[in-house]
Symmetry: C2
Subunit: 420 residues, 2 copies
């Protein structure tokens, strides 16, 4: 029988084997005493199984509150646990309740993070995954392989009218941008009702498309309760839009999959709220596991932060996230990594050096909108940065060669956060 | 214009005022430089506003990774921030993206927890909240005020056939139980397909109801992707069931609200995954804020853990959670607190002493199923425990007065976790 394997990074005040057994027990038998009806046969068929334990370092202070160690030592380890697919079938929410659920509550752990999930073959057959993904997003925007899709976020996040938003989109489309998105804070506001914004923006985008043959992909933020979200999806579709954005953690998996299943628009998955699930090194979930769940649900584009970002995440972590999005498993269908946060083109060089890929949606917000030559020059600068990076130039060489990118370096180069 | 106020517990390596301003800026303007179109008028209307700062302790080590303090001091504080309702209207997912979202990523914080949310009047008018809640759950189970609803969870969590499950329900119904639930790990398994389980269990429950006039409330775990979840909901309803359980965090808010909006079954909200959102003292969300979001979505019954539980949570925290569920705000409609985890009746005394309420769904899993006299004696023991607790007896007095409860004390009393 097929099994799903989950890898955890744990810390425990007890023997690692004992803690691993508690983990497996809680997530299959699930009570503190032996109960009638719990036969050996049942246990063998449905019990979670500890597959492998890799002991790691020990520490003298617990990472998060839990039981006190009798010998003052907190032991860390990697633990692989497996479950029969018979336990839940193909039901992603119940899979999550099984692989995560109450595990974070168990007192025998002073740290627990879900690192990765290995899905068996039947998941590949049961879940279609991204309808558009990398290739579909390229087709919709007419961006051939060899460079990333280049995009921006309308800023300020909240406050512009539909007409103001459309005016910015006009400038950006003129400058040859591939992708524009609403901010995750912008859904339907007092001075930018959703439908009015779609009308105004799509009028501009459709006009440019008629002229040039290239339709800018605009990710309208449809995040909402389910019924209004479905209405907004339809509105975008009927208006000729090609993409909708959803805040994955705020909506949740059942709602997100419902939207992805519609399969008409590319789904831009925003991961805001991610820090809550990931920022502590020994609590929550790591991105390789996280992206698989959303990929199974059918998300086409997924945020991964960016090199030298304005947030707390390290470059190493961003590089790992990009690699996991591009990895074929579990569906032979990668999800398009969305690089953003404090990007302005200067990071293109390091991004390309470390990832060696252009299968990215590379987004600059302020980096485009606040370019000294205006947003159009900001788009050009971003294109130049990637041309330079892929062509083997250094940032300094590209700045000398391309005037608009040179302007970016002059304005944003000094704002760049330097990391150890 | 109405404003929503959120309270955060933060830690920062910088001046608290500076960090609070960064918080408000990220969640309204949202970029790292001033951009065209961002006028003072726009800012005043849509910007988040720091309402109040309460400085607290300082520490010498950051709670979670972030920026390094220039003076080696990490400052903690309570910060109240407000947003105009104009920014998002009545859209719970976008509210969550605004109040939480990228906040957890900001490098200026080495700790951030959403403590509470104050909703303005229009939310009360826009969200119905729990359709059943405390009073509705009492009516459906014929439990008059004065004692909690008493319930149990079918254990082992996974593995029993529908016939075995129904047999246990039969025994429990005979013994006068009010409520039974599937485990959150149990959805539809190879040897207990959902519909077969509903058929078998409801046959027993309906038979007892015809005989006694009291229908046991069984929370069938319908947690699934949206379409199968809706089908399962209908199946429970058509079979005469009165309740469905959903794993809130695994499904997410959009899906959960869609289910609650159906308004025909009481919705039992399981919070598995909660530890990931809450276990660290300076990361995530506290229960008073969390329960308000789910209450607005319409959840009727919500897990709060229990006194002397088997998990890591302190009694103080459990008591606070129960109080917040019973608090009228924001909807004048409390949600029924579900007390569980390692409960067997012995904790009834401390639970009642500290909460002074019987508006609880009090659940024992192993505590009923593994009673030395069998599950029926387990139910009786639980009833006796609460009768004793409300009547002012101590646990020891009740154990002497009631033989079944005495049996519980003998078996489970020594397993009880003693806490400081």
């Amino acid at each position: 029988m097929e099994r799903i394997v989950a890898r955890y990074y744990i810390e425990t005040p007890y023997a690692v084997e004992k803690a691993a057994t508690a983990l497996a027990g809680e997530q299959s038998s699930g009570t503190f005493v032996m109960v009638p009806g719990e036969t050996e046969e049942l246990k063998n068929r449905f019990a979670a199984r500890v597959e492998h334990i890799e002991p790691l370092e020990t520490v003298s202070e617990p990472a998060i509150p839990g039981a006190t160690s009798p010998d003052g030592v907190y032991r860390r380890a990697t633990v692989d646990v497996s479950w029969s697919v018979e336990n839940f079938g193909h039901n992603l929410p119940t899979l999550i309740s099984t692989l995560q659920g109450n595990l974070y509550e168990i007192t025998q752990f002073t740290g627990l993070k879900l690192m990765d999930i290995h899905f068996p073959e039947s998941y590949v057959n049961n879940y279609r995954g991204p309808r558009f993904g990398i290739n579909g997003s390229r087709s919709l925007t007419h961006v051939a392989p060899g460079r990333p899709l280049l995009g921006t976020i309308i800023k300020p996040s909240v406050g512009l009218t539909p007409a103001q938003t459309a005016e910015i989109v006009d400038t950006l489309a003129q400058a040859g941008i591939d992708f524009v998105k609403d901010d995750e804070l912008m859904a339907s506001t007092a001075n930018s009702p959703f439908e009015d914004r779609v009308d105004a923006v799509m009028r501009v985008i459709n006009r440019h498309a008629d002229r040039t043959g290239k339709k800018v992909m605009y990710a309208f933020n449809i995040s909402d309760e389910l019924e209004p979200m479905l209405r907004k999806y339809d509105y975008v579709l009927q208006s000729g839009g090609t993409c909708a954005m959803i805040s994955l953690n705020s909506i949740g998996l059942a709602g997100a999959k419902r939207i992805c299943d519609l399969s008409e628009l590319a789904i831009h998955g925003h991961r805001n709220g991610w820090g809550m699930l990931n920022r502590h090194p020994l609590l929550g979930i790591e991105f390789p596991a996280y992206q698989k769940l959303w990929r199974l649900a059918g998300v086409d584009q997924l945020h991964v932060n960016g090199i030298q970002n304005k947030f707390w995440e390290s470059d190493d972590s961003v590089v790992r996230s990009i690699a996991s999005c591009l990895d074929a498993a579990p569906l032979d269908k990668p999800v398009l990594p969305v690089v953003s946060s404090g990007q302005w083109g200067g990071q293109a060089f390091e991004t390309y050096r470390r990832t060696q890929t252009t299968d990215l949606l590379y987004m600059a917000g302020g980096g485009i909108m606040a370019h000294p030559g205006g947003p159009a020059a900001g788009v050009t600068a971003l294109q130049q940065a990637w041309e330079g990076a892929v062509g083997g130039l250094t940032m300094e060489e590209a700045a000398r060669q391309y005037p608009e990118f040179g302007g970016s370096v002059e304005k944003f180069g000094k704002l760049q956060i330097h990391r150890a």
